[in-house]
Symmetry: C2
Subunit: 643 residues, 2 copies
């Protein structure tokens, strides 16, 4: 099974072996390329060509996935969810086709450029952006490449593209072939990009001969291409012959072959479907399930032959933006990561600027894309400790709202709101689990949060409206399927965390209760106006997730940072209005209730510092309710809040 | 009882209370003075005047200790040991008198300047340097002050000093009174120094009147003095009257009173001893014990009256470089820290440049003064993580050798060498515990190392010559008397560590054995020529001591850093020659043996990354010996070393 972290570590240990075998001089320390960061996963930071090389050297087959940009904004949202799902299977990279008629280099959420950027920055996927060059000016191409670089894209698939219309002619100064584009990239951007080019195992449809086509490929590689992805094919021997014919070129090319049996693709690629396939398909062409099963069967057979040949380092899948068939093939090949190891407890971005990032505030834990969006302009990312970062400047959320959130259905919100209505109306039998799908979470409930489900349900029904939480963890193995992250052989830890909205009456009682829990419990309590009550020492961040790994410094990926909390507060309160209230008519009771909560409730976070003991946070809440029942809070502690 | 760490925390929590009580706006986060480091101990970084203020506000009495510079280099070594011992009792500060006839501003190891610098930099003591100004040029004074600043001294006791000879006259442009010096410091160095001045409860011996003297004191405070230390006195009421008389001046002065009943001091201070005291002393003047007991009794009585008055924030002791009587008085007053809490697992330097330092390589663990010496020119100190520091440049040890090590007796070394002789001669009954006092340790054996004593003895008798080790610790309270450090409420952790010299034959076997312990055990193996064998991933540092505290980021004060290890290696091997071999005649058997070890042995360090489990390092050594006994190492693995 392919596993990112294991790969990384495999490399490290093989490197170590070689350094152990070779004698180094006393001043070897000066020559060593000393890491300034505890890179837990070499694959996270290395460029694609080196990842490939490592995988080839270790004989660890990879797979990659090709997607095309969607037509609509809601299609984009769906595709991004698909990236998250398919990314968890462990592709070495994905690639996004260039859609010349769809304004591919624009800022539209459906453009090739933006989809690739989203895959890199928000989904953390190593991504290759296709780029076609025919009918394009050099300036235009350079603009696209500059933009791609700026967005954090590192890999380009250099293609000629299909000429528009039939009257295409070579231009004197223009880009006529993919090789021109490869040369241009290398001359303008030096070694910044990893460049992939296309190989045609049956020859390019427009080439005069298979042999001539091999010469073109050789030229592309000579011009600076790092690896080759082949056009799809239907017979393993097609590829194996091609691979053999490429070899004498002595080029440093890595051949990756592609496969996905779909009629649409055949049309696009102008390929002929072999007779043995059409013979089978013809009788079942109206039976979708049969067609798909046959396709999966065919693909599996061919992939096995290819992998068994020992001449195929990886498989490239033309997914056509569908996931079922590809995942099924990969599962049956044993290449799909069933249990993806997490390099960090949060999803890592693949932007090169963020490669050292290893600390984030916990607040955006369920809204990681919002966090990435709001910090995209940072020049430096916290590394090792949050306190070392410069004072954080969080961007505004306007565009992000428009792009990612506008297509969220109102139905979800209504369900959540019903729970609150039930709570406010004191209807007892309402199950709290609907509170799980709050607008403060843009990802499905984390498995570890399930560990707290019963307790969360209980407090939510009583007006402690939780939006973020984690259990305490006292040294579980880093390979733990639920709470593990980072390389194997390590131990992960957490302090219990609870974040919720609640009324000022509850906060009054809570503040009294919290005095009993000093210094065990740290708290931050803030309302929409910024009233801020805390016992954080010197406004320092509190590490709430950390890991200890063999041969590394401590990694502490999640902190409760008092300063960031004030920025999160603005976002968290805004969601009441932006995500909920706007679903209802002005002056409607629903809207008034939400507005009331927004204006009067407090956002509270609690950390139990005694991570080796059972969390006391539930007891804190319990004590708060008890105090409220005795009625001893009323006047004097409202003083505390109003002073 | 006075406790540095508790103080720090007390302050933090009182600050938090005030922030909790006051409402702050939404943009308060921008105003907050955000710490860039997880300062565990406010007292460690704050200036003396603020430490005093906090102690006064909390009603927590302090004590301070006065020393004079020694006459000889060996006297300096003794005094530095005394600093370490008396520093552990928790003085708020110590002060070093200015010795005009002893070249006080020079680089001699006995100068006032160097003794104060050593107290600050090597012993981590908040220190006040006395400075007298009469008969001195402005340039000279400025030079002294610049040098003090450069050395990390932050506090000056500004004194006039005793004029040399009886023909002293006021100089027009010169420094005639302490107030001139105070003004000069403030005008030349702004607010950099905390300035202390002297108060004379019975009037200055040369002043015309007690009243005139009070006016002078007021002038000194008005000129910028931060606090006042009084001359010694024999009656509590003397001080209490003085303190009352000072008050109407409305000055921000903090009065500290001093006490130590010794005849010599009386002579120096030109004070008259009250009759009630001479009356008691006269009959017992030849009985030293009786005199001392009476002195302690007298001091205790007076200190109690002063402290009970509520008008004395701290007691200043004129120690005359002796420790017994002062420690006895402080113990009986309950002001001596019996169980000093460690802010870090290693002794923290008090140099302001090092205030953020919170990571060090483990190698110098038993030679902290050497580490401080060799890194004194660093502009930045690692903070949070070692990997963030710039590539380390370690200074040479030459001067350090001369200063600190030359007075080490050869007797100790001989004892240690006997152990090695016994090992080499295979004399079985020799107890290994003598190996505890190796030249690689310049401090007494740490209590936690005692936990490993039996195992250490065992392996040392078999040629695994250990020089540094620590047990694994899996989350002990930070208040643990043996392994605890940092503020209360935290948990401390360690990975097991073992460092030793051993023969190349042993190393051959060890390398075979270590393969079974991948990746659990990290190792670095190096000989004097720099042959370096390691399995450290990417030459990254390995955190081996860390602590988790309420409301803080993770602190990892000790790392095994591959790069620093190469510098430590040079020092560790040099000690064989510099500290041992040189004790013997050239060509003597002893010297030849040491030379052989120096030239042929390897320095090995091992880290067991699985800190929650029992350390496997002893088993590694055991496996090595077993492998050696089976004789399967000989040829093939010597290949491994020689390749």
């Amino acid at each position: 099974m392919v596993n990112q972290v294991q790969r990384g570590d495999g490399t490290l240990s093989s490197r170590s072996d070689s350094s152990a075998a070779s004698a180094s001089g006393g001043d070897s320390s000066k020559e060593s390329s000393r890491c300034s960061t505890p890179v837990l996963d070499a694959d996270r930071t290395d460029r694609l060509r080196y990842k490939m090389r490592r995988r080839m050297e270790s004989g660890d087959h990879w797979f990659s996935l090709e997607f095309f940009p969607p037509r609509t904004a809601s299609g984009a949202v769906n595709l991004i969810s698909r990236f998250d799902r398919m990314g968890s299977g462990g592709p070495l990279f994905i690639d996004i086709t260039w859609h010349p008629s769809g304004d591919p280099g624009s800022d539209k959420e459906t453009s090739s450029m933006m989809i690739a950027s989203t895959a890199v920055n928000y989904c953390g996927l190593e991504s290759v952006l296709h780029l076609t060059c025919c009918n394009q000016s050099k300036d235009n191409i350079s603009r696209h490449l500059s933009k791609a670089k700026h967005l954090g894209l590192k890999n380009i698939m250099a293609l000629r593209g299909d000429p528009v219309g039939s009257d295409w002619e070579e231009e004197e100064e223009g880009f006529n072939y993919a090789v021109d584009l490869v040369k241009h990239i290398r001359s303008e951007f030096d070694d910044y990009f990893d460049i992939c080019v296309a190989g045609y195992p049956t020859g390019h449809p427009e080439a005069h001969s298979y042999k001539e086509d091999l010469i073109y490929l050789k030229e592309k590689v000579a011009a600076g291409a790092d690896f080759v992805i082949t056009q799809l094919f239907f017979r393993a021997e097609t590829f194996l012959k091609f691979e053999e014919d490429c070899r004498p070129s002595g080029s440093p090319c890595v051949c990756v072959q592609g496969y996905q049996s779909l009629r649409q693709l055949v049309k696009l690629s102008k390929l002929e479907v072999p007779e043995e396939i059409t013979r089978v398909i013809e009788p079942i062409k109206d039976n979708d399930a049969a067609i798909r099963n046959y396709g999966i069967h065919q693909a599996l057979e061919m992939c096995r032959v290819l992998l068994d040949s020992g001449r195929v380092p990886g498989l490239h899948f033309y997914t056509l933006n569908r996931e079922v068939a590809t995942m099924e093939v990969l599962r049956q090949l044993g290449m799909w990561q069933e249990d993806p190891r997490r390099p960090m407890p949060w999803a890592v971005s693949a932007h090169p600027k963020r490669k050292v990032e290893d600390v984030r505030p916990i607040f955006w834990g369920s809204r990681p894309k919002s966090y990435i969006y709001r910090t995209q302009d940072w020049d430096e990312f916290p590394n090792g400790r949050w306190g070392n970062s410069s004072s954080p400047a969080f961007g505004e959320l306007n565009d992000y709202y428009l792009f990612y959130l506008k297509s969220k259905s109102s139905k979800d919100a209504l369900l959540v709101f019903e729970v609150f209505t039930c709570y406010i109306a004191a209807q007892p039998n309402r199950k709290g689990h609907k509170v799980m799908c709050l607008p403060w979470n843009d990802e499905p409930l984390a498995p570890e949060t399930n560990m707290l489900k019963d307790e969360l349900e209980k407090v939510n029904t009583r007006g402690v409206l939780t939006i973020n939480s984690q259990p305490n963890i006292n040294g579980k193995p880093s390979t733990d399927p639920i709470v593990g992250w980072g390389p194997p052989g390590g131990y992960v830890f957490q302090k219990a965390y609870l974040e919720f909205f609640t009324s000022s009456e509850n906060v009054n009682a809570l503040l009294k209760v919290l005095k009993k829990y000093e210094p065990r419990v740290n708290y931050h309590i803030v309302n929409v106006h910024g009233r801020n009550l805390t016992n954080a020492p010197d406004m320092q961040p509190n590490a709430v997730t950390w890991g200890i790994f063999p041969g590394r410094e401590i990694v502490q990926p999640t902190v409760v940072d008092p300063v960031s909390f004030m920025f999160w507060k603005d976002e968290a309160f805004a969601l009441w209005i932006e995500q909920w209230a706007k679903l209802y008519e002005d002056e409607s009771p629903s809207r008034m209730i939400i507005k009331y909560i927004h204006d009067n409730y407090f956002l509270v976070n609690l950390v139990d510092n005694d991570f080796p003991l059972d969390s006391c946070l539930w007891q804190v809440i319990e004590d708060m309710f008890e105090l409220l029942q005795t009625g001893q809070v009323a006047n004097d502690s409202s003083l505390e809040l109003d002073s």
